[in-house]
């Protein structure tokens, strides 16, 4: 099992249609910034972007740039991929808990299948997409 996970960088991902309230995140990825919605009333971050606060249901949300540093909260080794991912297995999908307390689902690359573990520190890796935005992936910190 000490083989590396497929990095999925060569997967021809379908174009992503962005919800209008997600656009600040995707625009941030052009400059490799991790932007996360923040609810000032609850003093909490939320992920993924929503039209209202998950804590108050009000709309006075802010966007804040965060470091993107986090740790593996959980992960799965995808041995079966669908659509454009077929033939690219095995690859890693993780829930990454950012330092700000939200979980983001993302691919983890530059990581062996037996190396990943819950609690492992990770930092962003940006995979370029056709529209000039970047897909947020993660890699082991210090890799």
């Amino acid at each position: 099992m000490s083989k590396p996970a497929n990095d999925t960088l060569s997967v021809p991902r379908d174009p992503i249609r962005h919800a209008n309230f997600s656009i600040p995140f995707w625009e941030g990825t052009r400059d490799k910034k991790v932007m996360v919605q923040y609810c000032p009333r609850a003093n909490q971050y939320q992920w993924f972007p929503r039209p209202v606060s998950l804590f108050t249901a009000r709309r006075d949300l802010e966007w804040r740039e965060v470091s993107g540093h986090g740790e593996i909260f959980s992960y799965t080794i995808a041995n079966v991929g669908n659509g454009p991912f077929r033939g690219h297995e095995p690859y890693l999908i993780a829930l990454v808990r950012l330092d700000e307390g939200v979980n983001i689902m993302a691919n983890v690359i530059k990581c062996n299948l037996d190396e990943i573990s819950i609690g492992m520190e990770v930092v962003p890796f940006w995979a370029p997409l056709a529209d000039g935005t970047n897909l947020l992936m993660f890699q082991p910190a210090g890799a």
Binding site: S22, T76, A78, N82
Partner: protein, 390 residues
């Protein structure tokens, strides 16, 4: 009027078939015909209909009317319960509410779907923007993430999961309505050796889609008695929770709304987990049942595997588990699938379990799981306690 003033007077189920080639309304028609036959009702007496959604009909917003039109029914109350795998159990509660409110007197609930013949399901949800670019394989991927977290918190006992797979498969062998190719016994080793799909989730952790249908006739208990039904089943407790603790970023995906839905259903029914005669939990994945044992109070969180090891889950055991094979061994009839374990519970309480009849028909507990959200547990949780002639 209350939930327990209502009664299920008849049930019906079509055989589960992989890629039947039949139209979804052919299944709906088979169920309607069987319900009229078994209940002795005339078509004109039916003034309410509740459907489950359908993967086949997923492109059709006016699903209720489209179905009613094909079935030739004129109604005073019609709805489709849009709660994914909770739709069938949720439909029973909504039917009781509609009868209590006086909207209608006699409701048929029709759950039919043909995803293995025609699947039109498109998820207009977080998936497109936040999970598809990562290559998440739908529900198995989500349950892979959930399973790994469970393993981290409590340790994942694969043999306990395998025991449930084996027990349910034994039940499917005894169920002529189960998908034929699943009516073969398996061993714990077969489970352990099945290939990893979304590691640590194996192939035999998962349901397989099939075509099928099931349904019920409901009316007030008073009316059921007036009409002379000698046997009926009463919903005595119901709980439902959607988006359990959604606002807690730190919520573990091993926590589900069954904690509160179960508590409410048990309280309303006046029973506790120890009193359950047979257990028919929604089973999209084996671990979902283990978590339900924990959330419904059969055991403490993290103790699911120990509970499974010490409990005889066969139809003639201490706590019969999904005695028709559940969806995992009888097949998942798409969005009608929440009715598979429900119809089996009703069948058992009617005493019509045949070769797999359970001994304790004092009550049965049926649950639902609906929708798989982003990085959490599941969207909706239902718990329904059924009692014969209560």
């Amino acid at each position: 009027m209350a939930l327990r003033d209502n009664a299920i007077v008849a049930y019906a189920e079509a055989k589960h078939v992989m890629r039947s080639g039949r139209d979804v309304w052919d299944y709906a028609g088979e169920i309607l015909d069987a319900l009229l036959e078994r209940s002795g009702l005339e078509r004109a007496e039916i003034d309410g209909v509740i459907f489950t959604p359908s993967a086949t009909g997923a492109k059709t917003p006016m699903w209720s009317q489209s179905c009613l039109d094909y079935l030739g029914l004129e109604t005073s109350f019609t709805d489709t319960t849009d709660l994914g795998g909770c739709s069938a159990t949720g439909g029973v509660a909504r039917a009781a509410a509609a009868i209590d409110a006086g909207y209608c007197e006699t409701i048929v609930l029709i759950n039919a779907d043909t995803p293995s013949t025609e699947d039109n399901l498109i998820m207009r949800s977080f998936h497109h923007e936040w999970a598809d670019p990562e290559g998440l394989l739908g529900p198995p991927g989500a349950f892979g993430l959930l399973s790994r977290r469970y393993d981290h918190l409590y340790g994942l006992d694969s043999r306990a999961l395998g025991k449930m797979a084996v027990a349910q498969r034994e039940h499917a062998v005894l169920n002529p309505n189960a998908v034929e190719k699943l009516r073969q016994p398996i061993t714990v080793e077969d489970y352990l050796n099945s290939r990893m799909i979304a590691d640590p989730l194996r192939l035999l952790d998962c349901v397989m889609m099939c075509d099928g249908g099931n349904g019920f006739v409901m009316m007030s208990k008073k009316r059921a008695k007036e009409k002379g039904y000698s046997r009926f089943v009463v919903p005595t407790g119901y709980g439902e929770r959607t988006n359990y603790k959604l606002s807690e970023n730190g919520l573990e995906p091993t926590e589900s709304g069954h904690r509160v839905a179960g508590e409410k259903a048990f309280k309303q029914a006046g029973i506790g987990p120890r009193d359950v005669g047979s257990f028919h939990p929604y089973d999209d994945f084996l671990i979902a049942m283990m978590i339900q044992f924990e959330m419904l109070g059969f055991c403490k969180p993290g103790q699911g595997a120990a509970f499974i090891h010490e409990t005889d889950l066969r139809f003639d055991g201490d706590l019969p588990l999904n005695t028709s094979g559940g969806q995992i061994s009888a097949g998942q009839a798409g969005l009608a699938g929440g009715g598979t374990n429900l119809v089996e519970a009703v069948r058992q309480l009617f005493g019509e379990g045949d070769a797999r009849q359970v001994k304790n028909i004092g009550n049965a507990l049926v649950t639902g799981i609906g929708w798989i959200p982003y990085g959490r547990n599941w969207g909706s949780s239902t718990a329904l306690v059924l009692t014969p002639d209560a």
